[in-house]
């Protein structure tokens, strides 16, 4: 067995580049508006009102954030559950983006809810019939699972290299011992968390779709369907690999690495069938409920629906079927970016565009403050990602193997 692909190392790069400084400015701008929200209330920063209780933050930061972090559970299922070891090089970067993605989803929820200091209430105040309750609980547990899955990376970085400053240096040996204990303990039990992660993801990815079912006739019929949970799950599964490809190609470009085309092309070849299944259900639903009649009139809803389906699903589906696209980093990037865009737009459509309150006097468009916070969060996420890949063994370089790639195996299978 060869593991030449799996060699995660902290990358030796300077942290600050002109691009990074631009991101810092975008992040600071977002933080300014965030302070406005915490000092003066939601109304001071957002365009939300009694007609439109949910806007950009729920649509993008939360709903799209969860969907675009699907790379974590899809690659875990592929690499660890199905034991496709050739993909192990991308599991860690995907895990990192999922972990950061969910962290920012939690932060998105935190800033959007009016009484943020009660965010822990769902832990002890339950409502089994609420889809939002299920999403909340699953996201909380899954985020914990993601952090546990990432612990071995931290352990690997510091084992044998614990150098605490000053008077804490006496604890060096103890900390080292704890890290080793965590590492060996997790190596034996990690399969429990990996499977739990996949199960939790399928649960809350679909329940995120159930959320808007209760809005009933307030949601445009092009999107309102009882199979919303299934559509959300299928679209999350089909956006997982495109998101991994999208991030991997951006990361190798920005970090000056050779794109890992041998893995990404193979990953790309699996996307078309997944997108195909999603498209089949989406079109099937449209024909069974005969909602295509709404496409005859030209309005925001019909235009957005068409863009979502055409550019987000049909065109990339056709592209992923072409061997030429799979071999070219540029075309692979475009096709993946289109799927990512499609799912992002789908979540915005479901939560914002499709929502038509019965007594609406004006339509909702996010305020400058809302947009600032959303892109500010995205910028901070990228900055943290960059910090972690420069300091922890996440991204693999071709060369000597340093990590044990298949240590998360199910108990009972002989070593």
């Amino acid at each position: 067995m060869s593991h030449e692909n799996v060699n995660p190392v902290p990358l030796q790069r300077k942290y600050f580049t002109p691009g990074v400084i631009v991101l810092v400015i975008i992040a600071l701008n977002g933080l300014v508006f965030l302070m406005g929200r915490f000092f003066f209330g939601l109304g001071a920063v957002t365009n939300l009102n009694n007609q439109y209780p949910w806007g950009l933050w729920i649509g993008v930061d939360v709903a799209a954030g969860v969907a675009l972090a699907a790379g974590g559970f899809t690659t875990a299922a592929l690499g660890h559950v199905m034991h496709r070891e050739e993909y192990h090089a991308i599991v860690r970067p995907a895990l990192l983006t999922a972990m950061l993605g969910y962290t920012f989803v939690a932060m998105g929820v935190f800033v959007d809810i009016g009484r943020w200091y009660f965010i822990w209430h769902p832990l002890i105040m339950w409502n089994g019939s609420s889809a939002l309750f299920e999403v909340g609980i699953c996201v909380m547990i899954y985020m914990t699972v993601l952090y546990i899955e990432f612990l071995p990376v931290v352990a690997e970085r510091f084992i044998g290299k614990v150098h605490l400053p000053g008077f804490l240096s006496g604890l060096n040996k103890v900390v080292d011992k704890i890290l080793r204990l965590i590492d060996t303990g997790l190596a034996k039990t990690m399969f429990i968390f990996i499977i739990a992660g996949v199960v939790l993801s399928t649960l809350h990815q679909s329940s995120l779709g159930t959320l808007m079912v209760i809005a009933g006739p307030k949601m445009h019929p092009l999107w309102q369907t009882p199979i919303l949970p299934l559509l959300f799950l299928l679209s999350a599964i089909s956006v997982g690999f495109p998101m991994v490809i999208f991030e991997s190609l951006i990361a190798s470009r920005s970090l000056g690495l050779k794109p890992e085309m041998h893995i990404l092309s193979k990953l790309g070849s699996m996307i078309a069938p997944l997108l195909g299944v999603y498209l089949a259900f989406k079109l099937g639903d449209m024909f069974i409920r005969e909602t295509f009649v709404y496409l005859k009139e030209v309005n925001t809803e019909s235009v957005m629906f068409t863009i979502e389906l055409l550019f987000g699903v049909i065109i990339p589906l056709r592209m992923f079927l072409s061997p030429k696209v799979l071999k070219s980093p540029l075309f692979l990037f475009i096709a993946s970016a289109l799927v990512v865009f499609g799912v992002l737009l789908n979540r915005i459509n479901n939560f914002v565009v499709a929502y038509t309150p019965p007594y609406s006097t004006q339509s909702y468009f996010p305020s400058f403050g809302e947009i600032s916070v959303t892109i500010g969060f995205a910028a901070i996420l990228i900055l943290v990602y960059r910090f972690i890949v420069l300091n922890f063994p996440v991204i693999s370089l071709p060369g000597e193997q340093t990590a044990q790639p298949t240590k998360y195996t199910i108990k009972g299978a002989k070593k």
Binding site: M1, G41, I113, S130, I214, K218, P226, A413
Partner: protein
């Protein structure tokens, strides 16, 4: 297993069991959602209402909101704009052009409908909403996290939120004067109404009264009690002399407001069978693929 370790095991399990039991009694798994036979309701006869807006004044007074003096409500220019209940007024009256066989305009009082199957009770993430035995839909402000899912769920667009408060913003809506009815008093709006446009009573009786009025005055009413069947029935019901869609009532079907969302939710979590099965299935696949890989490797050696 030696006797001692077995005893330890039993002790630990008992402790864990007690812990779980204590925990589950501390948490409430589902909000109160009672559909009593004797639930109360209000019948609003829009053909009787004169649009004096005294109910708005009484409601504000009863809920500690700024009400002003009652004379200021005689100004009818405000009826020119269509208003919705909000954080300053939990009920409002809107005016519409006259309907069939009538000379006077139609005035419609708007407030929470207190659904029989409330979407807000089903949706609330912390189960803060409850449907009480007397039909009232109220909510526990101490539980609320301000997520505003109740607002997204409500088919009548009723709950309002204090967007401009940084600390302790509240969800606000009509609470059917729960604190007054508990003491045997009438809801503030019902008790002040000078023309008896509002009838407070057991919901099933109100349906009979409404049917009776329609039967005896077919030229006065359209043959429709809004709220009798809409979204599975509401505690507040309306009579009118014109089609309810012309009075800005939403067009709603008769299935309960939470719709299929509860069935989906309970289907996915039926006794935790689906998630546990999925877990077992993935575990099985993981074991098999690992096993197969090992056999391949052994053959290759």
């Amino acid at each position: 297993m030696s006797g001692k370790s077995r005893r330890d095991f039993l002790k630990t399990s008992a402790l864990v069991g007690a812990g779980v039991a204590g925990f589950s009694s501390a948490v409430q798994a589902a909000p109160k959602n009672i559909l009593s036979e004797d639930r109360m309701g209000v019948l609003v006869d829009t053909t009787v209402c004169v649009g004096c807006r005294n109910c708005e004044w009484a409601c504000r007074n009863a809920h500690g909101l700024e009400a002003g003096n009652v004379e200021s409500y005689e100004d009818r220019t405000i009826l020119k704009t269509k208003r919705r209940p909000d954080i300053k007024s939990l009920t409002v009256v809107n005016e519409y052009p006259a309907g069939k066989n009538a000379a006077l305009p139609v005035d419609v009082k708007v407030q929470c409908m207190h659904c029989d199957h409330p979407a807000c009770v089903s949706a609330c993430i912390v189960g803060a909403f409850s449907k009480e035995e007397n039909g009232t839909v109220i909510w526990d402000t101490d539980k609320c996290i301000g997520c505003r899912y109740c607002m997204a769920a409500c088919p009548f667009q009723v709950p309002a939120f204090e967007y401009n408060k940084a600390i302790n913003p509240l969800i606000m809506k009509c609470d059917f004067c729960f604190n007054r009815t508990k003491e045997g008093k009438l809801p503030a709006c019902v008790s002040i109404c000078p023309v008896e446009a509002l009838t407070y009573g057991v919901r099933s009786d109100l349906v009979k009264i409404a049917r009776d009025r329609i039967r005896r005055n077919p030229e006065r009413y359209v043959d429709h009690i809004f709220g009798e069947y809409e979204v599975g029935g509401t505690s507040w019901m309306y009579l009118s002399n014109k089609d309810f869609s012309e009075l800005d009532f939403p067009k709603l079907k008769t299935n309960p407001a939470p719709g299929v969302s509860e069935s989906i939710q309970h289907g996915i979590f039926a006794y935790f069978v689906p998630p546990v099965s999925l877990y077992a299935l993935l575990g099985g696949i993981m074991w098999i693929t690992k096993h197969r890989k090992e056999i391949e490797e052994e053959e290759n050696v």
